[in-house]
Amino acid sequence: MNPPRRELSYSTVNGSNAEDVVLIQRMCDADETALGALYDRWMRSLYSLVLHLLKDPDEAEDVVEETFWQAWRKASSYEPSRGAVSTWLLTIGRRKALDRLRARKRNREDPVGHDRTFADLPSQAQDPSEETEGSELRQHVLAALQELPAEQREVLDLGYFKGMSQTEIADATGQPLGTVKTRMRLAMQKLREPLSMHREVKE
């Protein structure tokens, strides 16, 4: 007898979002052990992202700690209707990392900034243990990313990894602001298609 097929969900990479929501609820009730459990589930994903953004292990560790502390302090602000807990955590962490990148830029202390692009991303999961259903979604998103026209991908690179605003991107690329906005919107719409398809399969 075959085992039941697990539904596709990127959040199943580290367990269901429902489990994360329970942890958030416990954090709202001031249960610090839930914070530890949430850390165990998402520390690696968060650290991977912020390290990729910052290229500095010490700073990445600081951001991880700040992110989980903010999650503890602001647990009650999490709204399940706005996305998975992992989305919330990674969004907080990315913003904190971008704040640091922007501070570096102000201080002109970011010699490795140009190295961060989507081209750095692996073409497939590196660790066989990560070959879960969630990694399948990542592969679809990655494929969509690689199919983007170069100019859309460039806009996404600058916005996602460099933390540049649309205005800054327009200045950097010499393109009109409206063009940058259009490219960014089109790129994001193409990337979200795999997510939409995944949701339809799930439902």
Binding site: E32, T33, Y39, Y47, L53, T87, G159, M164
Partner: protein
Amino acid sequence: MSHDEAFAELAAVALDAVSADVAGAVRAHAAACPECGPELAAMEETVAVLGELAPSAQMNRGRSAGIRSRLVVRARAERELHSVPAAGPPDISRGVASLTGLGHKTTPSGQRAVTGETKRVSPSDPMHAPIEDRPIRRMSSWLAIAATLALIATGAQLLRVTSDRNAMRARLATADTATSPSDSMTVALNQKDSMIAAMTGPDVKVVPLSNATAQPLGRMMWNRASDDWIMVTYNLRPPRPGMTYQVWLVTDSAKISAGTFRPDAAGRTVMHARYAMAPDALRAVAITEEPEGGVPAPTGPMVVSGSA
């Protein structure tokens, strides 16, 4: 902001690529718009998936464990801070500060867990157990080992203790003979006598404390006969926001927390603890900067230290 304008900015908002003003206006619109709300959520989810595309990286296990421990300890300390009833144990630092006329001192959050008792404690308990294996209420225990720290006053020079004691004694001598033995002035005097006794005598070991550049910043006095520990600091800069200083008694096998403290504006501190230790066990005294509430084991930079 119109619907079309907001819709055009959704991707940029999800990517955090617009100003805070624009993002705020878009989010306000999306919160009430049945089309933009779900679209923005989907865009943000897409951004999060992009985050998961980052090459998997493994944080150093020891450092990861340290971060986890700090987070849980801070959260626990914060919870206890908010759960302490108004009629809870007295804040000994406030009480003694008022007795010595030094004014009120802000007590670190973790200090709440430290009782004002001066009972002797065993060095064996909770410090050495994995933090997650301990009941929640044990948080106070590892701080309590801290030599059942009694943070008596901040901003006092020890010589001032003596002069204060003499002044109090003179006032007591002229006071109403019906004064109760439990009168606060008597209690204060006894505490000062206790401190002076602890700092004198043949069994007192003095450990000079200095920073990395050998600048003298204080001393620890350990009365090995009475198990009293008195630490004095001076010219110690305040800890960074959200941080506190934590004192460690270092032996060959352990780093024992002696509690947290925050110096006054002039960098002065006087701490008194009572803790039994073998006369030849102490190797060093160290002060590290740690998150408020303290930590079970040192994690922050060593600000001050001294060899025994």
